[in-house]
Symmetry: D2
Subunit: 488 residues, 4 copies
Amino acid sequence: MSAMRGFLADKPREECGVFGVCAQEKGREVVSSTYVALYALQHRGQMSCGIAVSEDGLLRGVRDSGLVPEVLDQEALDFLGQAQIAIGHVRYGSGGNRDKASAQPLVLRHVKGNIAICFNGALTNAHELRDELELGGAIFHTLTDCEVIAQVFTRERLRAPSTEKALENTMGRLKGAYSIVLMSARKLIAARDPIGFRPLCIGRVGGGYAVSSESCAFETLGGELLRDIAPGEVAVVREGELFSLKAHCGGKGALCAYELVYFARPDSVLDGVSVHAARLRAGAILAQKHPAKADVVIGAPDTGLDAALGYAQASGLPYGIGLIKNRYVGRTLAGPNSAQRQAEVEIKLGAVEHVVKGKRVVVVDDSIVRGTTIAQALRLLREAGAAEVHLRISSPPFRHPCYFGTYIDPGEALVTAGMDAEGIRRALLVDSLGYLDAADMPKIAEGARLGLCLGCFTGDYPAEPPKPFEDKYLSPLSLSGRGEDKEQ
Amino acid sequence: MSAMRGFLADKPREECGVFGVCAQEKGREVVSSTYVALYALQHRGQMSCGIAVSEDGLLRGVRDSGLVPEVLDQEALDFLGQAQIAIGHVRYGSGGNRDKASAQPLVLRHVKGNIAICFNGALTNAHELRDELELGGAIFHTLTDCEVIAQVFTRERLRAPSTEKALENTMGRLKGAYSIVLMSARKLIAARDPIGFRPLCIGRVGGGYAVSSESCAFETLGGELLRDIAPGEVAVVREGELFSLKAHCGGKGALCAYELVYFARPDSVLDGVSVHAARLRAGAILAQKHPAKADVVIGAPDTGLDAALGYAQASGLPYGIGLIKNRYVGRTLAGPNSAQRQAEVEIKLGAVEHVVKGKRVVVVDDSIVRGTTIAQALRLLREAGAAEVHLRISSPPFRHPCYFGTYIDPGEALVTAGMDAEGIRRALLVDSLGYLDAADMPKIAEGARLGLCLGCFTGDYPAEPPKPFEDKYLSPLSLSGRGEDKEQ
Amino acid sequence: MSAMRGFLADKPREECGVFGVCAQEKGREVVSSTYVALYALQHRGQMSCGIAVSEDGLLRGVRDSGLVPEVLDQEALDFLGQAQIAIGHVRYGSGGNRDKASAQPLVLRHVKGNIAICFNGALTNAHELRDELELGGAIFHTLTDCEVIAQVFTRERLRAPSTEKALENTMGRLKGAYSIVLMSARKLIAARDPIGFRPLCIGRVGGGYAVSSESCAFETLGGELLRDIAPGEVAVVREGELFSLKAHCGGKGALCAYELVYFARPDSVLDGVSVHAARLRAGAILAQKHPAKADVVIGAPDTGLDAALGYAQASGLPYGIGLIKNRYVGRTLAGPNSAQRQAEVEIKLGAVEHVVKGKRVVVVDDSIVRGTTIAQALRLLREAGAAEVHLRISSPPFRHPCYFGTYIDPGEALVTAGMDAEGIRRALLVDSLGYLDAADMPKIAEGARLGLCLGCFTGDYPAEPPKPFEDKYLSPLSLSGRGEDKEQ
Amino acid sequence: MSAMRGFLADKPREECGVFGVCAQEKGREVVSSTYVALYALQHRGQMSCGIAVSEDGLLRGVRDSGLVPEVLDQEALDFLGQAQIAIGHVRYGSGGNRDKASAQPLVLRHVKGNIAICFNGALTNAHELRDELELGGAIFHTLTDCEVIAQVFTRERLRAPSTEKALENTMGRLKGAYSIVLMSARKLIAARDPIGFRPLCIGRVGGGYAVSSESCAFETLGGELLRDIAPGEVAVVREGELFSLKAHCGGKGALCAYELVYFARPDSVLDGVSVHAARLRAGAILAQKHPAKADVVIGAPDTGLDAALGYAQASGLPYGIGLIKNRYVGRTLAGPNSAQRQAEVEIKLGAVEHVVKGKRVVVVDDSIVRGTTIAQALRLLREAGAAEVHLRISSPPFRHPCYFGTYIDPGEALVTAGMDAEGIRRALLVDSLGYLDAADMPKIAEGARLGLCLGCFTGDYPAEPPKPFEDKYLSPLSLSGRGEDKEQ
C-alpha cells in the first residue's frame, strides 16, 4: 500500500465525478472515451476511480485507489476490452489507499440482471436506511452511501417492472444530494436528486449519448452538451433512444454554489451557467463592493484567475500575472514524508517581482479554508516588494457544515471559523480584505435554470439536514460497528 | 495492477488457509502472531491474503492480492495496530490481481454487531443459496462462496440469540466443504463442515487460544496443537474460555486425501496424522506394490522427498539427493513475460550427476497434473547419465473433479486424463511407472480420527456433488450475470 | 525499469538545471534546501536528478532517473543526512530510464580529494577531448559531456594548486556551453562558460551562499538573488567567503534567447532581465508588428500566457482566459500505453466557450515545434465557436540546430521546418499567423547585462559550432563504440 | 529506492557469479540463455545483476540492483535484443540499493574498441593500484575492484596488440582472487587468477562456447561442462574458436574450500569435484571423527542436507527429514520492517515431530556464523520432543578473515569467534558438538585438480594478504575520500 494523496488539501473537496456513455455499437472506443472523460473530470476526485462496462449483456469492472492513468493502466483497459455501454467514476475520499473498497462503480449481481452503479453526492438519511436494511438481513462492506443506494435499489428492483422504474422508486426513499449513473446490461440510466445539488448533464458523443457531471468531458471527447438533467429526472438511454421519467421533477432546484466558485472547470457549463463567466461576475461584484486603490490585480493560480480577471475588467485596473504555480507539485506517487510535505507548500508558488515590486496589489482567490497556501502567497508577494496587498475572496466565508457532498477536512483549522473579517485580515497581514457577500451570490449564476444552495455560507439549506447521529462521524476506514456486541 | 503468480501451476491447488487467535489481553502481538501464522500457511494460498482485528469492540481489516509480506506491510500492520482478537486468511484464486475483491477476511457491518469472516472450502449449493438470497433482495459484490456464507449468516443472525448459534443455524443451510473462522467483537468462532473435508484445529498460543488450518502455525508461534475441531463442530473462544456447539457433529468424516499427499506441510499433524509420516507410508506402500531393481531412490523436491525416503527405507535401496531445486524461482513480483516463464521451467531443477550417472534411479513424486515439471526433471536425469529411470507417484491418478475445495486449472492439459498408466509411461519416457492404488490410500492415514475423501481418485464422494449449472463455471473475474437482462 | 516521461514533448527542451548551497553550519537543512531548490528547477529537466553532499570532508550522493520527489524519497534524504555543502541537478535526457547512468551529480574519488560535479550545457569539442583522454588511458562509463569535463578536470587537478584553479584551467580546454557546479570537501564552486549561454546566478539563502540556474530557487527558499555569475567567471564559496577567478571573463556574452522565451520560469530574473517582463515585451512587439482586428486575446497555457497579456496590453484588446489546462496530465509514473498517450493529447486543454464563441480570437503561444498541442487548441477554439483565430508566436521560427544545450527531439516533425509562414498558416487553418522577427528579439531582453544567442533562429552562432562527426549522433543509450574492434 | 535483501544473512556470502556466452550466430537466444544462466547462478549473489551484449560490434548493457527477474524484465530484455556475445553477472554487495553503481558488467568506451567486464573475487592490492591510477589522472565512480581492473586493463590495452594480451598483462599487475569475464566486440574472454580461488569453467551451449562460475549453468541450458579454466589461464573465444594464453599458469592452485562446503550448488562440479559428493564426504568424515549414539540424522535445509546424508550413510543411522523450510521466506521486494524480520526468522523452519519426538537426533549443518538460524532450529527440535540433539558442522570454525572474496558481515556476532567448541556447545544447548577438522578438509575435495584454500580456518593463505589500510574498511556506499582536502 502506498500513501495518501491530496495532503495539501487547502480547499473544500468535491466528493465525486460521474460519467456514462452508450454507443451505437460495441467497440474499444467506449472504454477509451470513458477513460478520457474521467481524465477530464479528475479535478472532481483524485483518490480512487473506476470503469464498469457492459459487453453483450455481461458486466465487468475495474476500480481501485489512484489517479485515472494509474488505476486504468494497459492491463485494466485490456480487461475492460470492448463494450456498448460504460460508466465511470472519480472519487475523493478521506481514507487514502485504505479506501479501495469505497472505489466505484460497484458491479452487482442481481437476480433481475446485473447492474453497475456510481454516484456523486451525500445522503442525509443513509443511517436510517442502513439500519432498516440491516434489520432486513442486508450486510454492508463499506460505509459508502453508494452501497446504501445499491441495496435500496435492489429491493425496489424486485418489485418494479424495469430498472428505470426501480430507480425512480428508489429515489422516493433517498434524501439528500445524489447524481446517480447506473448501467444495466442494455441501458444507461442517470438520475439527479429533486434539488439538483450536484450537476449532471447529457451530451452527444460520437453517434451515442453520454452523461457527465460536467460538460467539459463532452468537449474533450469532441462531442457536445445537449442539456442538463433536471432535478428529479431519471434519464434513460436504451438502444440509441433517450427518454425520461419525471415523477420527482417539478421542484425549484438549487445547485451547489461552490460548484461555480471552485469545483467545476472553467470550461464547463452547469445548468445553463458558464463557470468561467460566473467567476468573472464574482470578480466584478467584488470590484464593485470591495474596491481598492491599487496598481494591479492578480489571481491566485489556478482557481482564482478567472475572478481576478473579472475584478480587473470591472475596476479598470490592469490585470497581471503575479503568482506562478510550480507545475510539478503533486506529481508523485510515493508517500511524501514530512520534509517533502513542507517542501510542497513552499514550492507551490512563486511571485513575479516585475509585476508586484513597489505596487499596490489586489490578490483574488476563490476561498479560504486552512489558509496555508494563500498565506504563503502573501508572504512571497511581500518579499517580492509589494507596497500594499489587498485580498479579495470570490465567495462568502464558510460558516456552516455542508451535508450535501462538499467535504472540508475536519482536521484543518479553518481560518474563517470563529473569526470576523477584520480578524482574518490581521491574521493574514493584508491591507484590506473583502469577501463576496452571500446576498450577492445569486448574481454570479445569472441565467441559471435553477437556484443556488448557499447552505455552507448561510446555514439555510434547501433540504432537511440529517438527524444528528454519532455514527455519522465514525471513520469510514474502520468499518466499525456501534461499539458493543449486543448479544448476551 | 501487476501480474499473476503461480503460473507454474503444475499441481492441484488448495483454495485457502485460515487462522484466528484470541489473546488474554489487547496488544500488537495479536497482529504479529497472525502475520507469522499466515506466513506459515502461505503454501495453502499465494494469491491474496488479509487480517481483520477486533480492538475494544471495533473491527477493521486489510485484505488485498499479494503474498503475506506484500499485503501486510508496515503501513498495514500499523493500521491494524493492537487487538484482542484477529483472524487471517491466505487464498489461492484463479483471477490474479483482478481478484482483489475476493480477498478475505470480509469485515461486515451488521445491526447485531459487526463480524469478520473467512473460510477454506467450496459450497456445493452456493448457486441455490445465491438465487434465494437475491430474490430476498440481497446483492453480491463477488462470486465467492464466502459472501454467500456471510449473507446466510446475517439473516440467521437476526433470529438467533448469539453469534455462535447463528453460525450453527447457518451450517444447516450450507452444503459442501467449509472450515470457517469468524470473529465478532468479543468472540473467536471456528466451524468445520460435518464431513470435515478441510482441516481445522485448535491450539494454545501465548496465554490464549488459536485456530488454524494446520498445526504448523502453532509450532511456528511457539505454541502447541491442542486438538482438531471435529467435523460439524462449532468451537467458540470467549473471554479466555473455550466451548463448543455440537448439533452437526456425529458423522464419520472424511478428510481430503490430497491434504496428506501434497497440500499440507510435512511438519503439520492433521486429524491425528503426521503429514510426514503419511508420506513415508505412501512411499513404503509404493515400494511394496511397485518395486524396482534400482541403485538409488530420489525425490522430486520439495513435496516428493518424504515419500522418496519412505520408498528407500522400505525397499532397502539407498536414498539420494539427485534433484536440486533453484531456491530463487518464483521470487519476483513483476509480471513474467513468456521468456521468463520458459526460463522458470528450465531453471527450476538441476540434476546431480554424481548421484545418478550410470545408476538405475527411482524418482518419487507426489502427483502428476500437467506434467511439465516432472518431464523437465526426467530430461535432466537422462542428460546427467541415469541408466534407467523408474517413476513412482505417491497418489492415484486424478480421474474425477473435486467439488470440495481442491482446484485444478482447467487450462492445464492433464497428463493423466484419458491415458492409462502405460500411455503415461511412454509419454514420459520412463522405464517403469507406478501409482499408489486408491485402495491403499486409507493406509497412509493410519491412526486418523476420520476417514479420507478419495473422490478425485474414485468418483465416490462422501457428500452429494453440486447440481450442474453453467453459471458455476463463469469466470469469477467477470462478475457477470446470467446473460440477458430479463426485463422488457 | 519503468517507462519514459515527457512523451508529449511538443517543445524544445532544456538540458539541465543546477544548484549548490554552502551553509554556515552542518545541518539537515542543507539537504532539504537543495531538495526544494531542485523542485523549483524541475521545469528545466524531468528525466533524472540527484544531490551530492559534503559532510565533514566526506562526499556522498544519490542520483537516479525520475522526478525530484521520486528519486529523493525519505530513504535518500536520510542517506544524505546532514551536510555543510550540497549540490543538485535536474536533467532532461533522451534516454528514459536507461539513462540512469547519466544522472548527475557525479561523485568522484580523486587522490587530491574527492569532488562532486554537475553541469548544464553542451560541449562542442567533447569528441576531440574524449579521443585524447582515451588515448591517455581514460575510460568512460557514459556518453555525457559531464564525464568529459570531470576527466579533464581530474587531469588538471593533478597540476593545479587548488580546485578552483584546476577548474579555471579546465575551462581553457572546453568549448561550448557550460554552467558548472562543483563541490570539493570544503568548497562550493560555480563556473560559467565565456559566452554565458546558460544562466547561472548567486544568491543568499539562510546565512550562506547558493548558486542556481535560475533565481526562482532562491525566492522559493526565502532567500534572494545577489547577482549573476558573469560569462567566464569561476565563483568560489569557502568558509562563508565568496571570491572569483576571472581569467576567462571579458567577452560580450550571449544568453540563450529561448531561456527568456520558454525555458525559464516567469518569476526568475536572468542576467538582469525579468523573464515575465521579457515575455510581456515579446507580446507587445507582436501586437505592434502583427496586429489583428479581434475581440479578445488569449494565451496557450502555461507558457503563452505572459506574451498574450503583453499583446493585449499593447493592442488595447481585452485579455481573456480562453484555454484551460488539465492539471492532471502527466501525473503518472506508469509507462503510458498508446491509448493513454492519445488521451493525454486530447485531454490536455479545454476551450471556454463563453470567452470565444462568436469572437475573433488572438491566440498567443511561445513557439511551435511539432505543433500537436497548438493544433488541438485551435480545433477546440473552432469547435467552441470562435469566429476567427489569429495565431501569434512570441519567437521566430526554428530554422537551425542548437549546439549549445537546447534539445529538439529529432523524431518530431517540425511544423516549421521547410515551410514558410503562409504554409504553416494554411496547415494550422488559422486566419492569420505572425511570428516575432529575429531582428526584434534583442528588444525583449531590454536591460540585459549580456547579448542574446539567436543561433537557432538565424544560424549565426556566438561560438564555433562543433566539427561534424557521426559518433556525436550515436544514441547515448547504447554506450556503443565506433563500430569495429580495431585489433587484428 | 526499496530496501535491502538478504537481511537474514546468517552465512558467509559469495561475492559474485559470472557468465558469458559466444554463439555461432546473432539471436535473441544469446540474451535469454544468459538470463537463464544468471538465474541458475542467483545463489552466488542476490543484490544486483546485469547483462551486457555485443551486437554487430556495438556493446550495450543493463545492470541494476535486484534479483535476476526484477532487473532483467521485459523492457530490459527487449533493449538487449539480439546479440552474438553476452556476459552476465550476479552480485552480493553490502550496500543494498544504494549499490546500484556497483552492479556489473561495466560497459566501457575505449579508443581501441569498447569492452564489457565483470568479475568474481577480491583484489588484495586494489588500494595501491587505485592510488597509482589516480595519480595518473584516473577518476573512479565506485569503490569496486571491478573498476580498478577496468582502469588497469584500459591502460594496458593502449600498449597491447590484442584484448587478450592486454588482459594477460593486466593480470601481471593484479594480486588476489579474480575470475574475470570480459567481452570485446568480437571476443569472449575469461581469465582466472594464478591461485584459482574462485571457480571458472568452460562449457558447450548450443553450437557455441560459454564460461561460467559453476557448471550448473551449462546443464540448465541443456549444454555440458567441457573443462575448468586453469589457474592463471586466459581463455579466448573468437569466431567459434577457443584458444588460451598461459603465461600465468603453472602454480599449484587453491580453490576456496567454502565453495565446496556452502557456496556452490550441489549439482555443480568444481575443478573436477562434485559439490554434492564433497558434502557427502564431509558428512562421512564427521561420522567417523564425531560419532553419536543416536536414532536419526537430519540436515539443516537446504545446505546441510547433503552432509547429513553422508553422515547417515557412513554411520549406518537412518536419515530423516526433520526440519522443513518455509518456501516463501524472502519472497518479497518490500523493505521488511522489524516485525517482518523477526517473523522471517521465526518462520523459516519447522520441525517434524514424527521424526524427532523421543529420538536422539544428529543435526548436520554446513557452518555457523551468527548462529541465529541454527539456534531457532535447535529450539524447534527440543519443543518437538527430541530426547538428545547432537550438532555436527561440516566445516571447521571460522577463525580468520578471508581476503579473497568471501564476505562475512562484520555486524554479525560470530558465535564461533573467541569461543572454544565446548563454549559453543553450551551456548547452543546441544548434547554434543563436532566440527570438521581443518586437517580433514582436503579429503572432501578428493580428485580435485587443485588444492584448497583453507585460510579462513587456518590463517594460512595461499597468497599474500593485503597490506593493512584503513580505507579498505570505508563503506563502499559513501564513495568517500580520505578525509581532508589536501590543498591549502
